[in-house]
Amino acid sequence: MYLRGIIDAINVPGFALGSTMMGFSIIAKEAGFNIWMVMLTTASVWGMPGQVAFASLYAVGASLFLIFIAVTLANMRMMLMVISGANILNIRKFKVPLWKKIIIFHLMAITSWAQIGFMKDQIKDEDLISYYSGFSITIFTFGILGTLIGFYIGDFISNEFLRVLIFITPLYILLLVVNSKDRTNRLAVYTGGFFAIIFYPIAGTWSILISGILGGSLSTYLYYKK
């Protein structure tokens, strides 16, 4: 199952994430990061929206305090993703050593979380953790490679090509979540996406939190009303 995770990752998800990280690396280089800072940011933050918020604020010379607050807010959803991911993986049922837990939760980000939600019904519970490990470690490798390549390739690749590459990540993740087996979650995807479009012009990045809570609550309420 570990191998199947790796194989599934060396596919659209790996290349999608690699190209997203290339995009981040290009933004970060423009902002004034050196190669080690870019690499360390990808490896230690491992969450695209937070990384982009970080690089964008760094570019305009914002105070370190503001950077800290912005990244904290942008990545608040990591908490929900970890809770939800631990639930999907059934972590409590299996004896997982602490070091493995640390790796599992550090690598828990949108792509790998959405993937296990998508695969949950096709893989036995006891195999899901090793599938996830293979998948997420491979995705991480692609992300690191993408960051490295992006730092140097920005000058060679045309924008026409790059923008199609960057389009793949949001597309891939939306198609994964929209196809969730659970009706409540599917409804949450449509409502959350819809609210984000409405609230972003008014509330900026806060719209993520607002749309998430509104969409998630509405879909859970409708499910239980039935």
Partner: protein
């Protein structure tokens, strides 16, 4: 005007960004151990997580920054709709992504 950071401040910024994310993951792990599985709370948390992910992705697609903002919002949304419709009918993730991606490339470069 751009303000340059000292070398120390730059690395401190990276460290802070790392802490800002790690802290949420840690809080998630602590919370998970206290929540009843299969309860209403976990159902709601899942719903909010799905909703938030969709919100982040729609934000990137509708209000992008960087290279993606050089394309038109109509093109991005049409390509997304093509992808979702393909997914509903074909039920194949890889094909749906390819169809949507090719449509996007064509829309952006030729229309």
């Amino acid at each position: 005007m751009r303000i340059d950071y000292t070398n120390f401040e730059s690395w401190l910024a990276v460290l802070l960004a790392c802490i800002a994310t790690g802290v949420w993951r840690l809080v998630g792990v602590i919370f998970y151990n206290r929540i009843k599985e299969d309860g209403l709370l976990i159902k709601w948390i899942n719903g909010v997580a799905y909703s938030m992910v969709a919100a982040v992705m729609m934000m990137i697609l509708v209000y992008p920054s960087g290279v993606l903002s050089t394309t038109m919002v109509e093109d991005r949304l049409i390509a997304l709709a093509i992808g979702i419709i393909s997914m509903i009918f074909l039920k194949k993730l890889l094909y749906s992504i390819l169809i949507s991606m090719v449509s996007f490339a064509l829309l952006v470069n030729y229309f």
